[in-house]
Amino acid sequence: MDCRDVQNLLHPYSDGELDLVRHLQIEHHLAECAACAEHQLGLRRLREALASAPLYHHAPDALRARLAADLRSAPATPSRRGRRRPRALLWATAAGIGLVAAAAVTTGALLSRASTSAETKLVEQVVAGHVRSLQADHLTDVASSDRHTVKPWFRGKLDYSPQVPDLAGEGYPLSGGRLDYLADRPVAALVYHRRLHAINVFTWPAPDADETPVRALARQGFHVCYWQRAGMAYWVISDLNAQELDEFAGLLRQHSAAPPP
């Protein structure tokens, strides 16, 4: 490990985010290298200053009281104890979908796992792309269940034309598409649904002509299937259960046999 490597890793080192081996390597280097030690000192001083300055904004009591009151006055389902007159309408729609928030909790890969291989990196990007699409409430740029609307939408936006199979008959209706960015290139993202579960399908021209079967893995609470066929790479991700996502992947693979025009 030279000084450059060390200085690049000083931040995760200082945050306690490195594995033990690298942590010790850096500790060792800092004991012997004045230049790197000086960098580390500067970083430490900044962090100490941030920690000691009164920068934290605590919630005002009035807000705390208001939220508690809102909660109490929210309409409850009249199943249990006495009912109250509904006041805070906003609470009334509570429960239900929860995709966005649930997805938000589960993203993020271990630092040590990142960049170990191109595929691992791609998995991470697929997960991040999926989470982003749910979080930003930006699942589709073109919202349509009609493949004849979605497919042409990509024309002029990509240098290839993705297959957009109609799987509504099998219980996986199309809900639209959007452009995303994966594997260092803009790619087509197709969005299907199974009940309330969004399924993202990322597809782009494969780097080689290999045909691969559907491979499946689970990452951070999501199920991922991926394969190559007819010159195209496919990555499918959802919080749908593995069984149904496998079924969906199988159907999609079946329908993606034709070479892209």
Binding site: Y56, R81, G98
Partner: protein, 175 residues
């Protein structure tokens, strides 16, 4: 659909202990007291709406992701985004020009520090607030912000570099 009494209890238990964390993030992102309150209230409404999707676990991270989204919506609505966001290329001066020895932060400089943090672009400010003030791990920050852990790491180091650059060039300051 609504929260029944059971769910409401669970919801309070999962979210109210993190009100300070929610407000702190909202306040740093909006840089405005009243806006921060509005954002937190909106976030709690949304969180209640999505509560069925909360499968237990890290309630703070879950809530903060909702707060962050509400804060960005507020920023977008107020068109503050353009004003608040800095061009990274302009403000990140690349290599670390600051001399660490000159970076001595005393009590008197706390106002300077607060200002430097407020002047960071929102994506740099949020990772700094979540790491330095909230003490979240890279993985938790990644979950809140919705980016890969590697992005958290690089944003955090760039944010700190910018902070040091903003704080360093005060000539003639003695140890």
């Amino acid at each position: 659909m609504r929260l029944n009494l059971d769910e409401r209890g669970r919801f309070e238990h999962a979210t109210l202990p993190h009100l300070d964390a929610a407000y702190n993030l909202a306040r740093w992102l909006t840089r405005d007291d009243h806006a921060a309150e509005d954002v937190v209230q909106e976030a709690y409404f949304r969180a209640a709406k999505f509560f069925a999707g909360f499968r237990g676990g890290d309630g703070r991270t879950w809530l903060l992701a909702v707060v962050r989204r509400a804060a960005y919506d507020w920023l977008a609505k107020r068109r503050a985004w353009a004003a608040a966001s800095f061009d990274e290329a302009v403000h990140d001066r690349g290599d670390d020009a600051s001399n660490p020895e000159s970076l001595v932060i005393r009590k008197a400089d706390q106002q300077l520090l607060r200002q430097a943090l407020e002047e960071l672009s929102p994506e740099f400010r949020e990772v700094t607030v979540l790491r330095e003030l909230e003490g979240l791990s890279y993985q938790q920050i990644a979950a809140v912000v919705g980016v890969p852990v590697g992005t958290v790491m690089s944003r955090l180091s760039r944010a700190r570099k910018q902070l040091r650059q903003r704080l360093a060039p005060c000539p003639g300051r003695e140890e």
